[in-house]
């Protein structure tokens, strides 16, 4: 079980959190013409790296805030957590 440091509440058990996917995905700009392929990439395609990965987590049973986590997908080591408007 992981211990995740919520930037608002401090260290808490993984039980209190829910995983929110890749933190680096950006929605295509509003009102701009884009190809089906670009939309496809945004909706479905994700990297599946072994090693360092930036992800979103939600402290759903705690302060109910979203934040970013930099985690190693193989060893589960957590390098850093940050608020959404901060850099990882």
């Amino acid at each position: 079980m992981l211990e995740i440091k919520c930037p608002y509440c401090g260290k808490r058990s993984q039980n209190e959190f829910s995983y929110g996917g890749d933190a680096k995905i950006k929605r295509p700009e509003l009102g701009k013409e884009i190809s089906d392929k670009e939309w496809d990439n945004f909706v479905y395609y994700r990297d599946n790296p072994k090693g360092k990965h930036s992800e979103l987590w939600h402290h759903i049973s705690g302060c109910r805030q979203w934040f970013k986590v930099s985690r190693d997908t193989a060893s589960h080591e957590i390098f850093k957590t940050a608020k959404l408007d901060e850099d990882l």
Binding site: M1, Y8, C9, G10, R12, S13, N15, E16, S61, G62, C63, R64, Q65
Partner: protein
């Protein structure tokens, strides 16, 4: 208007641990941005205290206590129990007129959403630790602190008034289940 309906009709006591349900206590959920000075000053004037801005902190006056739930969310609870027949409160109306109507934040009456179990005795945290991942012995969790966590898979808010006096907030629909679980766990201490 809802009539107060208690999900548990008993009180229990065990080895240095007892629990009962608190009859209605007004609870108002308050949301807003602390960086908005107008919001902070208006709320401060109405409730007569500064909202806690640090995780797990509370602040308290004669009539109400405010609990930190998140960086933009607080729970205002009345210190005294209120009549069972009513769930309309003066404070809610005043806050609604000044905060919600001016688009400064949001006020929601959650009195009937949560119920409170009043736990007392020196074995409270022995019992809670049986189903909760939070470390109650950490230095950050002293008197007058509040923590939102899970207790046996149920979302709860735990307000430690003192070492032997804890308020456990649980959603009404989960109250019966959690009450039974507490009875079961308390037997083992």
């Amino acid at each position: 208007m809802l009539d107060f309906f208690t999900p548990v009709n008993e009180s229990q006591s065990y080895n240095n641990f007892s629990m009962k349900e608190k009859t209605p206590v007004a609870k108002i959920n308050l949301r807003g941005n602390l960086e908005n000075k107008e919001f902070v000053s208006k709320v401060g004037k109405i409730i007569g205290m500064i909202l806690p801005n640090k995780a797990c902190n509370t602040s308290s006056k004669e009539k109400i206590t405010s609990l930190w739930l998140g960086p933009n969310e607080w729970l205002l609870v009345s210190n005294n129990e209120i009549p069972k027949e009513t769930n309309i409160y003066e404070l809610e109306q005043v806050l609604f007129d000044n905060i919600s109507k001016n688009n400064l934040g949001a006020i929601t009456n959650v009195t009937d959403h949560f119920t409170i179990f009043k736990l007392s005795g020196s074995n409270i945290f022995e019992v809670l630790s049986k189903g909760c991942p939070f470390d109650f012995s950490s230095d950050d969790f002293g008197d007058n602190k509040v923590v939102q966590t899970i207790l046996n898979h149920v979302d709860v808010t735990i307000h430690r008034r003192s070492e032997n006096d804890v308020d456990l907030y649980v959603r009404r629909s989960f109250a019966g289940y959690l009450w039974d679980w507490l009875k079961d766990s308390a037997k083992l201490i």
